[in-house]
Amino acid sequence: MEAHEEKPIIYTMENKPIVTCAGDQSLFTSLYTSLAQQLPREPMEWRRSYGRAPKMIHLEANFVQFKEELLPKDGNRALLTFPFLHIYWTDCCDTEMYKASVKDDMLRWQSTLRLHGSVDWLIVVVESEAKKKNKTNILPRTSIVDKIRNDFCNKQSDRCVVLSDPLKESSRSQDSWSSFLTKLRTLLLMSFTKNLGRFEDDMRTLREKRTEPGWSFCDYFMVQEELAFVFEMLQQFEDALVQYDELDALFTQYVLNFGAGDGANWLGSFCAPVKRWNGLLLRRPIDMEKRELIQRGEASLLDLRSYLFSRQCTLLIFLQRPWEVTQRALELLHNCVQELCLLEVSVVQGALDCWVFLSCLEVLHRIEGCCDRAQLEANCSHTVGLWTYATEKLKSLGYLCGLVAEKGPTSEDLNRTVDLLAGLGEERPETVNSLQSPYKKLNEALSSVEAFEKHYLELSHAAMEMYRAIGRMRSARLIGKSLAEFYMKKGDPERAEGFLDDSLRSYVAEGWSLQVTHTRKQMAECQKLLQQTEDYLQTSALLAGDANLTVEERKHFCQEILTFASQPPAPSDQTVALSMAAFAQLRQMQFSPPGAVVHVGAALQLELRVRCLMPVAVKVEQLAATLHFSLEQGGARGRAGSAQRRTGQGPQGQGDGVVLFPQGSPLAGAGMGASLLPALELYEMQDRSPSDSSLNSTGVVCKNMHLLLRRHDSSASLDTSSVTLSLLVALSFSLPPLSTLSVGRVQFVQSHIYPVVQYEVYSQEPQLTIEPLSDNLLAGIPQKVKFTIATGHYSVKKGDALQLSNTDSMPILHSSCCSATILSSTGERVGESALSIQSSEKVTSISLPPTPPYHTLEFQLEVLCHIPPTPFKPDIERLTNGEVRHRPKSHADRGMINIDQKVSIDCPWSIYSTLISLTFYVPFKAKHSILSAGKRKYIQVCLQNVSDTIFHLADPVLTDTHTSSLSHSLTHLFGSSLPQTVCSQQSVFCLWEMRWVERLPLCLQCAFSASFAPVSASDAHTAFKPYRYEFQLDRVSTLYSLKAEILPPSGDQHCRTGTLCGLEVSITRQAEPSETEGEEEESTEIEGLRTTKLMYEVVDNSSNWAVCGKSSGVVSMPVAASATHRVQMEVMPLFAGHLPFPNIKVFKYLPHSAVPAIQPDTDSCLENDTMSLLDKGLDDQGDTASIRSRGSVHSVGSGEQQRVLPMPRLEPFSPGQVFYLSQGRQVLVLPVTDDHVMEVNVT
């Protein structure tokens, strides 16, 4: 009971809403325990005003004895001490007693409440069976309750409840308890709603007055905080937090407005100079010191902020949101620094750093206090910001207090330190016993250089570790860099180097040039201290060429290199080799001659354009290039190929031998100034399965792919297509895989050049080529050929001569003007000199003018190729004659016959003869035919111009070459002997009649000759060249004449279609049998009469006639002149009109016993020694082989006939032996009837 009479202790988290108890105190005391237990057991829905979402809350209450002092006076808005409900307890069951004392007591209680305007009351009537039993004369119990209700609750009958037998375990008692508790809860909530609502309204009214003068934020703060306390008391932390957040926002807005010039008076108190910077205090739920300061309006900005945050922190931790605390803490700290700045509050230098540092650590400690280790590690990302901030602040404090300087703090620094420590005040009682308190840490860190280093490194490493753990590598490196700066300040470059190197690498990889420059500068300093000469010089070189630096800085670094270079080399020292990329850029390389192909002994000029990146002129003592030599046989990369490739390089390189080097990509950094691509950065990658960490896959990852795999100008691609043009040994030099610039002791080396540059040096054997000047060389007329001598490595001396072995078929004509032109290897005309040509019987000697090596000598000669007089017979080849062969090969598609002419030349540079083949084409094609008219014979020669040239043709003559007898003569009948023009593809026909005296020879050897000259020839007479065509005629005399007659059917005058007509064929022997012919003709003696068998055949190819009955037959002709044989046959015309006669053919009919009449053709093996043609091409062998086989098939076939199946054979007559009298005759055939119907359609 005593406990309830104490004044409630507020400001602890054990606050509960106050409920006063009046009436029978002993009764209440007996019920208190179960009441306090049961009240929060069931949640109650709290409906709230202003549309706020209803909440389920568990109600608790602090039951205190009713005293008038507890009731709030007017104007006191303290909510925490506000009694929300007043309960009057009574167990009176006696009307007398009620009337005597209880009623009065209740009235008094009621009037007190009414006096204070409190309407939240409840009267509890406790009934017990025990009491009832004692008093037997009691009224029904309801009457007491009714009385009370009558007396007090005029309209609120629910303000009086009955609790029956509360201390007994019965269902009735339980029911009454539960209805009582429900009532109690409802009333409590009603009271809350009403009172809080009123409070909030008051609060809002107060807030609305904020523009009025005299309004104080601190007062308002206290009011709203009261509300927050109540929410907190009701376990409504969210709502409580909202109150603080509103206060926070309001304050922030005021500060901002102040910054904007709209100052409020009350803000003045917050603008007081900061005197204490002892950091946040988060270990107490409520920091009463600060609260009182606020209440008194004496709080500084930091105090207010600290207090606000400590409350927010407390609530957030209640809400299990520790990570929000860290986030808010960081915001708060940043914000406070800004606000102090904005409000122009004067702060001792470093004081804020102290405050921030302490606050960071305090927050971290608080968080560590409420989370376990695993949770902390998993949420590094939330805390790392605070760690970093603390590190930064400690660092700046260290710098401020001279703790980083190599020499330690000065007295001024010490004074400052003392001032700062003074502002921290005494350590708070909460942390006095803690060894690791932020206060102690700061004190210690500021007290000595060593302690500072220890703490600073500890913090830095912790922050770095955290950043690494969460993958924020850049942030980690930034801390590493500031560590490096620290080490450098401490004079410990060894430790700084690693951090700097790590950072530099990442900046270079990601292409951040300013950072690269900055870090590199620090690196240079570090390397200088470490005496890493080579590295230092390399870094200096990079910095000297760095466009991000000022000229002075660059000059300084350049001077560093030059100074080192000019030092006399110590005996132990080698020259220092540095990468050239930093020092100079190779911009352009120009070859002269542009093709970059030279012969041995020639000079190749190479013009390098190097851009110096140094800020001052540097004297380069030596420039060296290393060449890579590669030997290529046979010119795998021909001349044209390499020239083509070179032109392909560089956008401007139009074959002028210029190679441009791509400039450094912009992302490689202006600071790097490097023209070369960065080296591949490859890293091993392993993919392990998450479950058992077994290796899934592994590979190599290129980290700087974006630098390497960028789109380059397509023209810079290397064209590797090459053409082999000539046999030459090419030595190509790739230039230079390594080029070096030396400055004193320093060498700058560029290890590779891209694109690869190379030039070729070749050595060439002397070479002679002979080419026709025109497309085709024509046989028979003089033709010009061009001799080209590529001297190669041979120098033509005076007296050197070409020896051409003469051939009869192709004499070399001495031209009047014959001069040679000398060209240089680049095709320039160097000189011209006359040639002297001497011919002897065997050789023609051309003495050459002296020519230097790798020059070209050109001259022209006229040659003539004689036309072989006979038509070539392709079917026989004489392999025994290996030297000469006519090669009848039709030229292209025009049927020109060509002659391959080999020329054997002895060159002065070789002991071997050079064989060169020239192909000539015969311009004409000749054909002959024999024509008969009865016994008279005519010879026709057709000459066709198959070349493209137009010729004059004159003097066509036909002579008999073989027999010189005068037994016959040839009379020219047709064909002009005057020159006539023959165009391309035009033919000339000539005709001769053959007359003879006695008898015609069996065989005639004829020769056709004519003169021809090209129309374009200037001198027509001398230009005429002979053309000769020889041929042989056999069996020319007419043996038989054949006459056919078609007779209409008897009684008819004309033949008619469809009717049979008679065909009478009469065969008449024309010639007397002769001995020579007798040999030839197969004749048989029958009854003393020499007969020969003929077979006739009627064939109508045009299907004009139908041959009826037999169409062929064998007749025996007597071998006597004018012997005639008639054959009757029947034919039927199929068409009307003038129909040509059907063809009638006559063959020799040879019985089976006859010897095959095949004779070897002697003409086919004509030999012409004047032709010295040599060609053993495989194709020709194939040709002739097939021809030979064709010939052999014939003979084999006849052999088979003899051997296997003896059959009579037919043999045709030679042309001219049979004269067809009725050839070309026609006969009129009438249609059967005249009633022709002509259908005419008119549309």
């Binding site: 901002l256 910054g259 960081l330 915001e331 700290l333 940043h334 620094v337 800004q338 700045c341 904005l342 990302s381 910001g385 901030y389 950043y467 969460i470 993958g471 924020r472 590598m473 850049r474 942030s475 930034l478 900046y507 990601e510 292409g511 951040w512 300013l514 950072q515 900055h518 912009p666 992302l667 974006h706 630098l707 960028r710 789109r711």
Partner: protein, 139 residues
């Protein structure tokens, strides 16, 4: 308005970076570079499935005592970073968003230029003047 505006390529090298005042340039470079850590973290935090609906604006990357760093990532993973002075409290989130949108539009124009080689640093005058308009006028 902004004190530093940076456009960073997909591969994290700067395509464009400008800051006022000039003397703090290096510090801004460091700040922007370090902010890439958070940008990457935020990008990877959004799952791949969500990549389509991902908002380009990343919000406040991290505050420092003096500056606030905001981020924005285009669909092609080009990053925009805007650094704003912390004392400039009048700047609302919406304004930052609209700055990024303007920046993105202008960047798109740059990319549409047929003479611009993707991956090169941005030297467009139009882009530059647009950035200048968004920057604090150096006083």
């Amino acid at each position: 308005m902004a004190v530093c505006i940076a456009v960073i390529a997909k591969e994290n090298y700067p395509l464009y970076i400008r800051s006022v005042p000039i003397q703090n340039e290096l510090k801004f470079h460091y700040t922007v570079h370090t902010s890439l850590d958070v940008v990457e973290e935020k990008i990877s935090a959004v799952g791949k499935a969500m990549a389509d609906q991902r908002e380009l604006y990343l919000g406040l990357l991290y505050p420092t005592e003096d500056y606030k760093v905001y981020g924005y990532v285009t669909n092609s993973k080009v990053k925009f970073v805007i650094v704003v002075d912390s004392s400039n409290t009048s700047l609302r989130d919406n304004e930052i968003r609209s700055m990024f949108r303007k920046l993105h539009n202008s960047f798109t124009d740059v990319m549409c230029n047929p003479f611009y080689n993707p991956g090169d640093t941005i030297q467009s005058k139009a882009f530059d003047s647009m950035v200048t308009a968004m920057m604090v006028q150096a006083s």
